[in-house]
Amino acid sequence: MFNKTILRLVQNLSLSYEISLAIGQSLELKEMLNKFINTLVRKTAAHRGTIWLIQDGSIKYITGAGSGTSEFTPRAITPSLENILDEILDKEILIVNSDSPGFNTICCYRNGREKEILLMAIKNTLLIHLVFGRKGIAKEGIVSVLKSLGPKLVNAVKACLNYQKVLQYEQKEKQRLENALQQTEERYRLLTEKALVGVFLIQNRLIKYANPKLAQIFGYNAGETLHNKEFVELAANDNKPKVSAWLEKFYSGCSTEEHIIFSAVRKDGSVFYCECLGSRTEHNGKPAIVGTLNDVTIREQEKEKLQHLAEHDGLTGVYNRRYLEEILSSLKNNPHAYPLTIILFDIDHLKEINDYYGHQMGDKVIRNAAFILQKCLRKIDVLGRYGGDEFLALLPNTNAKTAESIINKIKDYINNDSKKQQDVLLSISMGFGTAENKDQLDKAFNQADSNMYISKALKTSFSIFGSSKK
């Protein structure tokens, strides 16, 4: 058998060391004290143990270990312990055995195996309540070890309480920041949810967020979602390449902000114009595009109208002079347009018609002339009203021979038309010039002009003069 003194010494040392380790293992009060009481109960082969915080003459249960402590209800025993708290604080250590009259009240609950209770107050801060199924605890050295470790334990408790305060402060601060963040988020959510333009987030070409307005623009109900739909699928078929190219500009890194107008398709299949402004960003660490989208159908239609008005003659519907000059200028540098024939048309006797029949009849004659000319010209030819009674036609890829046949076609049409006319007979003087290249363009125009005047001068009703006939 061992030397009992040495054995006791090593046991106490071991208990002391194990408890010291338990004390230092956590800054969370309940966790730290749970490790402490667990070690104590196990090491001392106690039936159970609980630990309480002493605060202003009352006690607060923290944790326990051993039999039944997971179901432990501190309320049942708190009043009894508080009744004898002064005595415990005064004596520091109180050992109550099962023969004592007050045993039952401080042994709540009881299963009948309890023999002795050790109550120990440590530095007016902690109350340790250990229940044993045996007697003679005072002789086992537990008390001495706990006494010697008391200051260390109390320091650890204070450190935990301070840490708790720091945590509470941090928690408050975190809460404050979370609230602020939540408010900001709510604000932004409100902004996007209530925005009068569509707002979207695209990632991997899929719509990851669409606000209600965007859904509404595309004809979806509130409950329906555009989530995970391919953005390009929103475009009309003929506009899909355009939209794909727009997306590609972001993904290839060519662009950080890009604007697009394209025709899109609503859920019901109707087509409309939308304008989209995207900006390159990151979402969850991956490239993404955020942007706005608006239905600009009315604006685009108005724009088209204005464009039409800017390019067309209000009376006849053919191009106006300004637009003709623009076309001529663009054809000038296009080598594929040559040979380019220019035909000038002048309505004969328009002044007399206006004077005799009135301007309404004059306008009618002009409209009829425009109609006939447009009818007889080809799709690739461009007809415009060049002056009050003058029209000009640009015939790309047309040599003199072809131009002559077209003029003859016009002549025939006017002849046939005049047979049907009851009121005023239409007479048009025409002249053309053909340019083989851009350097001959001015010459061709002058030639057309002079040929038209020669025609006008010579003809009684119709005369045609072309460059080939000179």
Binding site: M1, F2, I6, L7, V10, Q11, L13, S14, L15, Y17, E18, L21, N38, T39, V41, R42, K43, T44, A45, A46, H47, R48, G64, A65, G66, S67, G68, T69, S70, E71, F72, Y109, N111, G112, R113, E114, K115, F132, G133, R134, E140, G141, I142
Partner: protein, 372 residues
């Protein structure tokens, strides 16, 4: 305690239906089956048989069985009960944070049989959770299932599951008297287990555990202790954890790993240890003492009641130490079995016992006797 005890020794399961039918009567509330590790065990066939019955059936595979004072390494020991009986299967003990249910169901439970995987980690913590879950005067008895090869395989079963790393908590509402004995004595110490990692004792007295232990044992055996003869020699020199009340919790040393000693059961860091030794006579006497203790405990708690059976849970390493003397141990048990109660039991990998008066501990190299 028992309603019926039967033993099935056939090598095939063909007679299992008759065996189970023999165990079951109208008032049977549950059955525990203890299966010897050398039984030709076809789990699929076995479960198809036990699933046919409506009564709760659970159990485990153990290194050996004890039936009517005879030892078996194959066969099935079946015990049926007619008192309130319920069990709960616990899975994955190493990562268990909370018991999966209120085991004790707010009702008085007189006896709790805990069968656990003898090779899983976290048994101490698991036992602590069980102990802290009852406020009743519950007595605990049990042991570790598994195989002597120490290979980790499923060792516990219910009708629905066959698993390892878990436990069965079986609540049986019948009184029991419990006796615990080991017979091991101090050889060397006190020592401090100053570095521990789970089952591995890494340092004793701030020196590599294997070196320290070897020196002490070699001084006793007058020959070299090596990895080859470790198992045969170390079984005679277990370690003991000394508690503050002077009691000993025995820990088996079963292997060496990188200078550490592999134990069955955990040792908390900084525990006070002793190297123990024993003699066949002492171990056999301790088994008899455990029977006497169990009778005394039963009679103290249950006046005017007669026990109907005895459950013996004997650590397999005791039989490895006692070898042919193991029969003497059971003869001793028979002698002390004053009411000649039918005896059944199993060899275990770790034992569990508590009279409900102290922290629930896992024992090694110990014999636990239940009389009820």
């Amino acid at each position: 305690m028992y309603h019926k005890i039967k033993f099935y020794s056939k090598s095939s399961f063909l007679g299992l239906n008759d065996f189970l039918s023999d165990l079951i009567t109208e008032d049977t509330t549950g059955i525990i089956l203890f299966i010897g590790e050398k039984t030709l065990f076809n789990s699929q066939q076995f479960f198809s048989y036990i699933k046919k019955y409506n009564v709760p059936i659970c159990g485990g595979i153990f290194p050996g069985l004890l039936y009517n004072n005879r030892i078996y390494t194959s066969g099935i020991l079946g015990i049926s009960f007619k008192v309130p009986f319920r069990y709960e299967a616990v899975h994955n003990i190493p990562s268990l944070t909370k018991l999966p249910m209120s085991v004790f169901n707010k009702n008085q439970v007189q006896t709790c049989l805990v069968l656990h995987d003898g090779l899983t980690c976290g048994i101490d913590d698991f036992l602590s959770k069980i102990f802290s879950s009852t406020t009743y005067n519950t007595k605990f008895i049990g042991g570790g299932a598994g195989r002597l090869s120490l290979k980790r395989k499923p060792s516990l079963f219910t009708k629905d599951s066959f698993w390892n790393d878990g436990a069965l908590i079986i609540c049986i509402d019948t009184p029991v008297g419990i006796g615990v004995g080991h017979g091991w004595e101090y050889l060397h110490g006190p020592l401090v287990a100053n570095k521990v990692d789970g089952f591995y004792l890494q340092e004793i007295n701030w020196e590599p555990a294997w070196n320290y232990y070897r020196e002490i044992v070699e001084s006793e055996i007058n020959c070299q202790l090596t990895a080859d003869n470790f198992f045969d020699i170390a079984k005679k020199f277990p370690l003991g954890m000394i508690r503050t009340d002077g009691t000993l919790i025995v820990r088996d040393t079963v292997g060496i790993h990188n200078g550490s000693l592999r134990l069955i059961g955990e040792v908390p860091q900084n525990s006070v240890l002793a190297v123990l030794h024993g003699s066949s006579d002492n171990l056999i006497a301790a088994a008899g003492d455990a029977v006497v203790q169990a009778y005394n405990d039963y009679e103290k708690d249950t006046a005017n009641c007669n026990p109907s059976g005895m459950l013996v849970i004997d650590c397999i390493s005791r039989s490895l130490y006692l070898q042919e003397n193991t029969n003497d141990e059971f003869y001793r048990i028979k002698i002390c079995n004053k009411h000649n109660l039918p005896t059944a039991g199993f060899f275990s990998l770790g034992e569990v016992a508590s009279l409900g008066d102290r922290y629930l501990e896992l024992f090694n190299k110990t014999i636990v006797v239940g009389v009820g």
